[in-house]
């Protein structure tokens, strides 16, 4: 029930939004994330957007993984 591929918001209405999930479009509820904007990525659970993915933190996580990998393997970049 909890699998969450982030969905990109394409169109926003008052309580729902049209989102794109890897090329297929569907409508989800946005009552729990009223601040969502077009272009944001959201985590959807059982038809409802539960959280907005923050780009800055997503980027930081990737940097962190690369650091872990490089710390172990200094010869690779």
């Amino acid at each position: 029930m909890c699998v969450g591929v982030p969905a990109k918001v394409i169109k926003k209405e008052e309580y729902s939004a049209l989102v794109d999930v890897l090329g297929s479009q569907t409508t989800v509820g946005i009552i729990f994330v009223p601040e969502v904007e077009i272009g944001d990525y959201v985590i959807v659970h059982a038809g409802q957007a539960m959280s907005i993915v923050e780009e800055e933190y997503a980027r930081q996580s990737v940097e962190e993984w690369k650091k872990l990998v490089n710390a172990r393997n200094p010869e690779t970049v």
Binding site: M1, P6, A46, M50, V62, W65, L68, V69
Partner: protein
């Protein structure tokens, strides 16, 4: 990098493969220090599935002990509640709406699927809020949603009540059997049956609860937790951090999923929960009743509470040799159940852990039969 490219990095093999090596190296360091493998419990059923599906669990099996916990909502629901929900579907003039996972869960006498085949109106919904629409379209029928779930699903149940109120429906109700993470973690820690070096904390439940909600693990039990997502790089980095904390003898809560989990959780959701729900005792499979371990509708919403509207009679649940109760407490792994892969398999599940998309036995059967 565009946002989509950033998100794709979490399953990029060029990152994930070396991350496996980094985790193994850390785990070896742990073993050198403590003379054993580090042991962590993944609390969430989706973690159990993700660890198996991505191969993370298999590739770490000689170095890290990953124990599945009580995180699959259908699996932790006790047998009497399962039987009651199946009995509920027997009543006339009713439409039962549910998540797909519930359909094949064995009751003492039958499954919901058996009842559906026998002609009962039972509908599987991906988006539960649609159950309210079903009620609106069928004013002469009672529409009951089977509300099984943890903190991620519970808010959606409140949305349904809100919607039913708005439409002034008299024929919609929810049969609530919800479960909360904190009381069951406390139960496990107090029972002390499994030795753990930390918890892999659920990414989605934490969207609701927030990072700060886990501090009791540190202050009261001196154990670490790392909030983790579901993609391979997220899982591996989460496990890495847990081992690192354990090596340093440091108990701490870390948020390894900061892009979606905030410190205080989702405040809009908290308001919905507070408006409609109140704590209640819940019975867990293999653990009995844990006080205040679930949420139920407040008395002013009795109208939407199926348990108040309908009476169902169920007898003592049928005894089986299923060991789901021990599986969800982390005491045995699925392949230690004598029925695993023999009498019990996905086409003929004996217990819920073999049915659910988040069940440990199903995860083992699908992805790990050969590797353990």
């Amino acid at each position: 990098m565009s946002m989509l490219e950033i998100l794709k990095q979490s399953s990029n093999p060029e990152i994930c493969k070396p991350l496996v090596d980094a985790v193994i190296q850390k785990a070896v360091e742990f073993r050198q220090k403590f003379g054993r493998k580090p042991a962590f419990m993944e609390v969430c059923g989706s973690h159990t599935m993700a660890l198996a599906r991505t191969g993370v669990k298999q590739s770490l099996k000689d170095y890290v002990q990953l124990i599945s916990g009580p995180g699959c909502p259908v699996c932790v629901t006790d047998q009497r509640s399962i039987d009651a929900m199946i009995a509920l579907a027997e009543g006339d003039n009713r439409i039962i709406c549910t998540f797909g996972d519930m359909m094949r869960v064995p009751g003492s006498n039958r499954t919901l699927l058996d009842s559906k085949i026998a002609g009962k109106d039972i509908r599987v919904l991906y988006s539960p809020v649609d159950a309210v629409k079903v009620a609106k379209d069928n004013p002469d029928k009672e529409v009951i949603f089977l509300g099984v779930g943890f903190e991620t699903t519970i808010p959606i149940l409140t949305l349904m009540v809100g919607e039913a109120e708005k439409l002034r429906l008299d024929n919609f109700s929810i049969w609530m059997t919800t479960k909360l993470v904190e009381p069951v973690l406390r139960y496990l820690l107090e029972a002390g049956e499994v030795q753990l070096d930390g918890f892999l904390l659920p990414g989605h439940v934490s969207i609701v609860l927030g990072e700060d909600a886990y501090q009791y693990l540190v202050t009261e039990y001196n154990i670490s937790g790392v909030i983790t997502g579901f993609e391979p790089a997220e899982l591996l980095s989460g496990i890495y951090k847990l081992i690192d904390l354990a090596i340093n003898g440091q108990a701490s809560i870390l948020n390894n999923h900061p892009a979606v989990v905030r410190k205080a959780g989702n405040q809009v959701i908290h308001q919905w929960l507070e408006k409609y729900l109140t704590e209640c005792d819940e019975a867990w499979r293999g653990m009995g009743v844990i006080p205040r371990s679930g949420l139920d509708l407040k008395p002013e919403y009795d109208k939407y509470n199926a348990k108040k509207r309908f009476t169902v009679e169920v007898g003592e649940p049928k005894k089986t040799k299923c060991r789901c109760g021990e599986v969800i407490r982390g005491l045995i792994s699925p392949n230690e159940c004598p029925l695993f892969g023999k009498a019990c398999h996905p086409m003929n599940p004996i217990g819920p852990c073999m049915v659910s998309a988040e069940g440990s036995c199903a995860a083992y059967y699908q992805y790990m039969r050969e590797s353990f």
